[in-house]
Symmetry: C2
């Protein structure tokens, strides 16, 4: 059978992986992924063929995974979080489009929006939008438009990729846009290194968030108009209390 | 220690649970949850005290969980998907607000947006919005506004609770609103009974989705303007091919 598992590893620590993610890796012949993620799974990759590349060589990794599968090897393509949320599941299906005989199975993991929410409290209890601030593959104007509409709709907003070396002003600009429709004291928070060494989180207001210097291992959540801080935790009510 | 774990069970099958979810249940003295979810964990609850209630008695479950924790018992409060996405983590923190000595830890699971996406392909590869069509706790006007802005922003949109017995026209109405900004042939799909017996999924256009009769165990995904169907799978490209 020609098979590629697109495996979401979750935030990073082993215990946050699902049983089926671990099983998919165990039953695979080859592990494919970005260096950092292959290191994360450590001993699970022991004795297996490994193809890992540095960042930004996504197409190369997919073509290689396809090649292994066409040779009859079972492949585990590992991604952080969930392979289906800004992950490699989509591009893998595009690359393999001419080979319907290759089965591609997505093995879900916990995506950063959920794991960040869990660390901070329960901010995603109501409708939310997930937006990446990376303009490597998306025009910045489109990102601005989505931030604007999401803020107008009073969504809780989760931001992926709030920072990169080349683009230091994106978070501040994003906050400016959201501040047009969300109040300056909207409750927000961010988490660095979720589920990994050095995990830490900070709660702040939207105005304060604008001036934060974050790194690329950070996930940001901006509350809706009802989000509150309770015992140091970010919580979006859903309305049960009112019933 | 006074502790409550808010445990996300994922879509339903045991293998889709995380190791830490299973561990949290194992080390708890009491299991609290909606009947159906308590049944899902089956043997994991064996020998433990169990407090389960039918649907719509959320506050009662939270108060009971708090009571157990105050007695010094470790509680696993089980939810489907992720306890932090339309789950009970928020209301539990509200109910326990007067008791900061009770530690509430969210143990994340795979939420339905991700597991539905994985079944259908890779539709959530780009920015997306998650909206519940349940107006039990949210004014319908607010839901309409969010649908409208999310469609205008060209988000991929994931719909939770597309149907209830009392509200049979909500999905059709939601599609009408999205059709103002999204084309009639926007690629969509829905999954019933994710990760459980009877799992099945259908891909269709937004116009076709409008006329579907779904049940409450269904999760819907509406693509963005670039979402395509490749080898029978719903895929939202992110732009790697263009580079």
């Amino acid at each position: 059978m020609k098979k590629i598992y697109m495996v979401g590893l979750g935030p990073g620590k082993r215990e946050a992986m699902t049983y089926e993610a671990v099983n998919a890796i165990r039953e695979s012949d080859v592990i494919v992924g970005y260096d950092f993620y292959v290191k994360l799974i450590g001993d699970l990759a022991a004795g297996k063929e490994v193809f890992s590349t540095p960042m930004k060589r996504e197409l190369e990794r997919c073509r290689e995974a396809l090649e292994f599968a066409l040779q009859g090897k079972t492949v585990a393509f590992v991604c952080s979080g969930d392979a289906g949320v800004y992950g490699m599941a989509g591009i893998m299906m595009e690359v393999a489009a001419g080979h319907p005989e290759v089965e591609i199975e997505v093995v879900c993991g916990v995506t950063a929006a959920c794991s960040a929410a869990g660390v901070m409290g329960a901010p995603l209890i109501h409708d939310f939008a997930v937006i990446s601030l990376s303009d490597l593959l998306t025009p910045w104007e489109k990102i601005e438009k989505r931030l604007d509409f999401a803020a107008k709709a009073d969504f809780v907003i989760c931001l992926y990729n709030p920072y990169s070396k080349k683009r230091t002003g994106h978070l501040a600009r994003a906050c400016q846009i959201m501040l047009k429709s969300k109040s300056a004291d909207t409750k927000c928070g961010y988490v660095k290194n979720i589920g990994r060494e050095g995990e830490c989180h900070v709660l702040c207001t939207l105005e304060e968030l604008r001036d934060q210097k974050l790194d690329m291992f950070t996930t940001v959540i901006v509350g809706n108009s009802e989000t509150v801080v309770l015992n140091g935790r970010l919580v979006t009510p859903r309305g049960y209390q009112n019933k």
